[in-house]
């Protein structure tokens, strides 16, 4: 059962996405602050991270993503944002932001599920050759 870490300071987003993912057979762990998130990822070693760009500070998401990567976390990271397209944060997933994909809020549940499954499969394919 793949483990998803949802990192978002909006408890409703966390709860709704948890319900969605759990009803689809995922295990969900969550954190609402930067410090909790670091601790959570270290403790739980999730298979994929769903990260919100803006928490207390507008760039907490980026800060966290970089921190995870530097501390050797290689699992896929999907970043959720409310403003990506609109404010010309037109950063696709690039080397500057070490993540797999940006999704714009509100993310339709079907899309979120699809992307999580996709990136999990990719990650698996990467570690097990021939899969």
């Amino acid at each position: 059962m793949p483990k998803v870490a949802i990192i978002d300071d909006d408890p409703d987003i966390v709860e709704a996405n948890s319900i969605l993912l759990e009803s689809n057979g995922f295990t969900v762990v969550s954190a609402g602050t930067v410090d909790d998130a670091v601790e959570l990822v270290n403790r739980e070693s999730p298979d994929i991270i769903v990260l919100d760009v803006m928490m207390q500070e507008p760039d907490d998401g980026f800060y966290l993503a970089n921190k995870f990567r530097r501390s050797g976390v290689t699992v896929p990271i999907i970043m959720l944002t409310s403003v990506s397209k609109a404010i010309g944060f037109n950063f696709g997933a690039s080397e500057l932001v070490p993540i797999e994909e940006f999704l714009e809020k509100p993310v339709p549940p079907a899309v979120l599920l699809d992307r999580i499954k996709f990136h999990l499969a990719q990650a698996k394919g990467g570690s097990h050759a021939g899969h």
């Binding site: 909006d10 409703d12 987003i13 709704a16 996405n17 319900i19 969605l20 009803s23 803006m54 507008p58 760039d59 409310s82 403003v83 397209k85 609109a86 404010i87 010309g88 944060f89 037109n90 809020k105 509100p106 993310v107 339709p108 549940p109 079907a110």
Partner: protein
């Protein structure tokens, strides 16, 4: 000529437009001087024959030659004058040319009758030009020196210390009536100082006003940017809770929590639909703020043909579900490339095409034409939809404006789409206009056509402030 910069450049002229117009004025003075030298030579050579006056032809011709010579040097020097406040700048240049002119004029005045010369009014002309450009103190100093030279010269002529020249054979006034001389001199001095004072006050006031206007414009721009940033943060905070609500509603409607009573399903669908409308409005406002916030564009060579096809691909389902025929046409043999900001260009065109789709009934037509002509590309997005009433056409680009017809329909719209489009097109130095009925008009379906003109290669844009996240 060792004028100190701080004397030449008072605080009130320290703005870009001043230096640019100063360079232009300096150039005009150089051009005018060629004419002056030619007229002077013409006078020296032609006056004895045409006007039957006795003039010192050779010395005056030499003055004309001297003026021509230093003007050639000035003309060359002009190219190197920067349009900023540099070590040697436009005001130094102006001071040099005006001083040289006054020296040449004084020599010419002496040779053409001194205080009796009909040309001494030219001194006032020079003082006015000088006062328009140079600070008052500098020009006053020049006037004082010129007046002292003329006064001394006249006195010396009167006493016979230096010879007196005249351009007529008539008995000269110099010896006959000293009071007349003094009167002429006093009037001249008065006119010189008054011209300096008045011309300088007026031009200073104009420069100050120009600077105030420039500043006011910049302040307005800054205020607009601050407002856009504020709107963006507010709107972002609005969007987050709506996004959460939509996620819950979607889960409920997907029956994640179990089956739904059919009579509950529709109200929930409507809730979700209305919230989605709010998200769309928020995204539109964010986009508009973004366009207004970005002073500079990131420009690159963009494949316009490909962008149109990308937009259609993204909207294909929308078009096929309404059975609207989408066709493109171009006069270019290959893909059309233009210099533009790819993201904004796509945003603008997508807005136009999505509008055409939105306001066209099933079985309708939407056509996009790309015409390349010279340095411009003309894009036409035409439909045979509901059209825009003539009296509303001029308001269509206003924020939140929706036409009376569109409001009657169930079509959701925020009234921001075309505002965004026009802002983008204008930022790209293009223009947009509309026609309704369009050329696709048919019975009861006037349709609308938008015509966008964009330069294929952008003129130089000063690097503006780019948006910060």
């Amino acid at each position: 000529m060792r004028a100190k910069p701080f004397v030449l450049t008072p605080q009130w002229i320290m703005f870009d437009e001043f230096w640019i117009s100063l360079k232009r004025r300096n150039r005009w003075l150089v051009y005018l001087r060629y004419g002056a030298a030619a007229m002077l030579a013409g006078f020296a050579a032609g006056a004895p024959l045409a006007l039957h006056l006795r003039v010192e032809t050779v010395p005056i011709l030499m003055i004309a030659a001297a003026i021509l010579a230093y003007n050639l040097v000035l003309h060359r020097l002009l190219q190197t004058i920067p349009t900023t406040h540099a070590r040697f700048h436009g005001l130094h240049f102006a001071l040099i040319q005006i001083s040289l002119d006054i020296v040449a004029l004084l020599v010419f005045l002496y040779l053409s009758g001194g205080i009796e010369s009909p040309f001494f009014v030219l001194l006032i002309f020079h003082v006015i030009i000088g006062s328009l450009i140079l600070p008052r103190a500098i020009v006053s100093t020049i006037i004082t020196i010129a007046v002292a030279v003329m006064g001394t010269g006249t006195f010396m002529e009167f006493r016979g210390i230096i010879p007196h020249y005249t351009i007529g054979d008539f008995p000269h006034l110099l010896s006959s009536h000293p009071n007349y001389l003094v009167l002429s001199f006093v009037v001249m001095v008065f006119a010189l100082y008054m011209s300096n004072y008045l011309a300088n006050s007026i031009s200073k006031e104009l420069y100050q006003r120009e600077r105030a206007l420039t500043q006011a414009y910049k302040d307005l721009e800054d205020a607009e940017k601050a407002k856009s940033r504020y709107v963006m943060s507010v709107v972002h905070d609005l969007k987050t809770p709506i996004a959460a609500a939509i996620t819950y509603l979607t889960l409920i409607l997907d029956k994640t929590f179990g089956p739904l009573k059919p009579e509950i399903e529709r109200p929930l669908e409507r809730s979700k639909h209305r919230l989605a409308g709010a998200i769309k409005l928020i995204n539109d406002i964010l986009e508009l703020s973004q366009v207004r916030l970005s002073g500079g564009l990131t420009t690159e060579k963009v494949n316009l043909t490909e962008i149109i096809h990308e937009i259609y691909d993204e909207m294909r389902i929308m078009f096929t579900s309404k059975n609207i025929r989408f066709t493109t046409w171009t006069n270019a043999a290959e893909d059309v490339y233009i210099e533009a900001d790819p993201k904004l260009l796509k945003l603008a065109l997508a807005n136009l095409i999505s509008n055409a789709h939105k306001y066209t009934d099933p079985e309708g037509n939407v056509e996009v034409h790309i015409k390349v002509k010279g340095d411009f590309v003309f894009i036409e997005v035409a439909d045979d939809g509901i059209g825009i009433p003539e009296q509303e056409q001029s308001r269509i680009f206003e924020d939140f404006f929706r036409t009376s017809i569109s409001k009657k329909r169930t079509t959701e719209g925020t009234g921001l789409g075309l505002t965004i489009v026009r802002q983008i097109i204008q930022q790209m130095h293009g223009s947009i206009r509309l026609e309704s009925p369009s050329r696709l008009a048919r019975e009861g379906r006037p349709g609308t056509a938008f015509f966008v003109t964009l330069p294929r290669i952008l003129p130089d844009i000063s690097p503006g402030e780019t948006a910060k996240a």
